[in-house]
């Protein structure tokens, strides 16, 4: 996968905002990423990071009062969204941008399909499961009603629903949560899209069912070669299923890397915090380190680095400088990007500025492992001079880390 052709989907500097009475919610604020043929790309972040808004933007289905205000979305060379400068300097929609009707008929369902989080609510309660499947298949593939029906039954069987012909006639309330999620997966696959956006498809399910669904998707993905954007807030799921990962914080992508690289050579403090808060077999619950505080509102994001009020590594400069998402390493020929001024090669603002006082003390107070206070951690880091800022202490997970 090192040398690649054009991506299936390319998102560049996408911005989606909600114009509410309380102000402009910058839900997605300039994200860029690609999805290549046959890969599963993760979109991770806490609740409210903008994952769902970003996903729906790709289909141009942003709820009012929201709007895509900037950026470019290209799918198989077609422009789902794109702006250009008009003669009077205003931004206007590009000539080659697909019309609403074209997006509806050519993209939604048959090129990009979705699976939502809540399998209980996603199916219409008053229609049979089969009729809903058939409707979407008929709409997105050139099949007659009878053929669509056969296809629907086949797909139900494919996703592991027993007695598919009988279940076809049943209503959603007659299915369990896990079974409904299988129906939604069948729905997505049956439309034969090239890309499936799965927006937290297992969050509403219990752990056993979650495991089954993930295995199912893994198998089917290998069989059909469909690309996935897998939205989740669970790093464990990411580790299990994703090829590459985008970590989102407050409308921005703060780190982007192939999955192993992200786990073993974490570059962004937020990703690190996410990993520390993740339950793992080699750690007791007491050792879990939840991320301090809550993510601020996307209406008035903090100046400078948006993560600075919660970042254990924050320094004075972080309040001023808004870090760009830059390539900080390469793995298997793929970029590893992170948006943190610790990695800025030009300029020494981070190195020269002082740690944020309150932050550092809080961190010291809450440090549970390693016995080393955060202040001294910061100290040694600034002396190391490589700017990688690896503060991970003795958690063993980073055995492959070769920089220390």
């Amino acid at each position: 996968m090192s040398s690649r052709s054009d991506p299936l989907l390319r998102v560049e500097n996408l911005k989606t905002q909600f114009f509410t009475d309380a102000g402009t919610v910058r839900a997605v604020d300039g994200i860029s990423f690609e999805v290549y043929e046959g890969e599963i790309v993760g979109l991770v972040g806490e609740s409210g990071a903008g994952k769902s808004v970003a996903s729906m933007s790709l289909l141009r289905l942003v709820d009012s009062p929201g709007q895509i205000v900037d950026g470019e979305i290209t799918y198989k060379g077609e422009t789902i969204f794109g702006l250009e400068e008009g003669p009077d300097g205003d931004l206007r929609e590009r000539e080659d941008m697909l019309t609403n009707e074209e997006v509806r008929t050519r993209i939604r369902g048959n090129e990009i399909a979705v699976i939502f989080q809540d399998p209980m609510e996603s199916l219409n309660p008053v229609f049979t499961v089969g009729s809903q499947l058939r409707e979407f298949i008929e709409l997105n593939r050139d099949l007659s009603s009878d053929e669509a029906r056969r296809e629907a039954v086949d797909m139900l069987r494919e996703v592991g629903i027993p007695d598919p012909a009988e279940r076809y006639e049943e209503y959603p309330h007659q299915f369990s949560g896990g079974m409904r999620q299988r129906v939604l997966i069948a729905m997505a696959l049956a439309c034969e899209p090239n890309l499936i956006i799965a927006d937290e498809p297992t969050t509403a399910l219990d752990v056993t069912v979650e495991g089954q669904i993930i295995d199912l998707v893994d198998d089917l993905q290998a069989k059909y070669g469909t690309s996935f954007i897998w939205v989740t807030h669970d790093m464990g799921v990411v580790a299990e299923i994703c090829d590459r990962v985008n970590v989102m914080y407050l409308g921005e992508i703060v780190e982007q890397a192939p999955v192993d690289e992200l786990f073993y050579d974490t570059k962004h403090p937020y990703t690190e915090a996410l990993l520390n808060s993740m339950p793992r077999p080699d750690r007791t619950v007491a050792e879990l380190d939840p991320i301090r505080g809550v993510m601020p509102e996307a209406i008035n994001p903090p100046a400078g680095c948006r993560f600075h009020p919660r970042c254990p590594d924050a320094r004075e400069a972080c309040k001023r400088i808004h870090p760009e998402n830059r390539e900080v390493a390469r793995a298997d020929g793929q970029p590893h990007r992170a948006a943190c001024i610790k990695h800025d090669v030009f300029g020494d603002e981070y190195e020269e500025s002082v740690p944020l006082e309150g932050r550092a003390q809080e961190t010291a107070a809450s440090a549970t492992d390693g016995g080393e206070s955060e202040e001294s951690g910061v100290e040694s880091r600034s002396q190391s001079g490589n700017g990688s800022g690896s503060t991970r202490k003795t958690d063993g997970r980073r055995g492959g880390d070769d920089r220390e």
Partner: protein, 332 residues
């Protein structure tokens, strides 16, 4: 099969309700002031013996519970008793007056549904736009204005001021045109509609206002459903979403509201019939009360009570039939 059993169950459940209705009316009618025999004699001076004989003739001398049981026995055989005052069987009087009332109530509902559903949908899709605000004001007026008052205003405007429509009585389409001296069936139909229009609107406005608000709320909720989002994401056209996906779900509560509002509709019919001089059950009821014709009062109460109970059962069953999630009380 499940549905049949469910239906049977609902009918059985209705029996105690109907018994309750009859017991209460029977007691109230017999506690009412005024002696029916004296009232019937209209002040003529007669001796006690004549009164006692009349009482015996109608069984009025027997204790209340015995009279109730006899009465119910007759009711079950389709005999609602004899109107002393009018000297005619109650069933005959009711049969004569049922047609106009049914025609009025059904047309009012038809009017209400035909206007409320499209208006509710429009209000839902133009939420918080001027159309929505106007519809909210109209609904508020509709809910808070009594039907007889609307009737009087309609008469003042359309019958008296403009002279476009008649203000009194109905034309019955089941009669022959000759009875009215009309040229033929087209004129009969035309006149039927002309006469029905104002009372229908007077009685239907309240229903329209209630249903419109419910329709709006339900459509808004339904349109925000995840299943609507999913349909959009799979490229379903917006009009199909509105007419099929969101609409079907939104209609379920409407059916319940129709059933529950039957009582207000029947109550409104009494006053509407009075205002528009329509010879329906409602007017008959008012006349029966005025003359203390308690056999008639009871007969009408039982019929209206039964109509209400049947109406609720029908809505219940149709709800169960339309909503697949209702499991007929078996399991879930």
């Amino acid at each position: 099969m499940g549905l049949l059993r469910y239906t049977a169950g609902r009918v059985v459940q209705a029996i105690p309700v109907l018994i309750g209705i009859t017991v209460i009316t029977f007691i109230l009618a017999n506690l009412a002031p005024g002696d029916p025999v004296r009232l019937m004699l209209q002040g003529q001076e007669v001796n006690q013996e004549v009164i006692a004989r009349i009482e015996r003739q109608y069984g009025l001398h027997r204790p209340l519970h015995e009279r109730y049981l006899t009465y119910m026995g007759n009711v079950l055989q389709g005999d609602l008793g004899h109107s002393i005052h009018r000297d005619r069987p109650v069933t005959a009087l009711l049969a004569q007056r049922a047609g106009p009332t049914l025609m009025l109530v059904l047309s009012a509902y038809a009017f209400a549904l035909a206007t409320a559903i499209p208006l509710g949908i429009i209000a839902a899709t133009r939420r918080n736009e001027p159309t929505d605000h106007v519809s909210r004001i109209v609904a508020l007026i509709g809910v808070s204005t009594p039907s007889f008052w609307i009737g009087i205003v309609l008469i003042l405007i359309f019958a008296i001021q403009l002279g476009w429509l008649p203000s009194s009585g109905l034309v019955y389409p089941w009669r022959s045109p000759d009875q009215y001296g009309y040229s033929g069936y087209p004129e009969l139909a035309y006149q039927t509609i002309r006469h029905l229009l104002l009372p229908m609107i007077a009685l239907g406005t309240l229903q329209m206002a209630t249903l419109m608000r419910v329709e709006r709320t339900q459509m808004i909720e339904s349109l925000q459903g995840e299943y609507v989002k999913l349909a959009r994401a799979y490229g379903v056209p917006e009009r199909t979403i509105l007419r099929k996906h969101a609409f079907q779900v939104a209609q379920l509560p409407i059916i319940t509201i129709i059933g529950l509002n039957l009582s207000t509709a029947l109550g409104g019919a009494v006053l509407t019939e009075y205002v528009f001089n329509i010879n329906g059950i409602g007017r008959l009821f008012l006349e029966a009360i005025q003359s203390l014709d308690y056999q008639l009062i009871m007969g009408i109460t039982i019929v209206i009570g039964t109509m209400f109970v049947v109406g609720v059962i029908i809505t219940d069953i149709s709800y169960a039939y339309i909503d697949p999630r209702v499991t007929y009380g078996e399991h879930d």
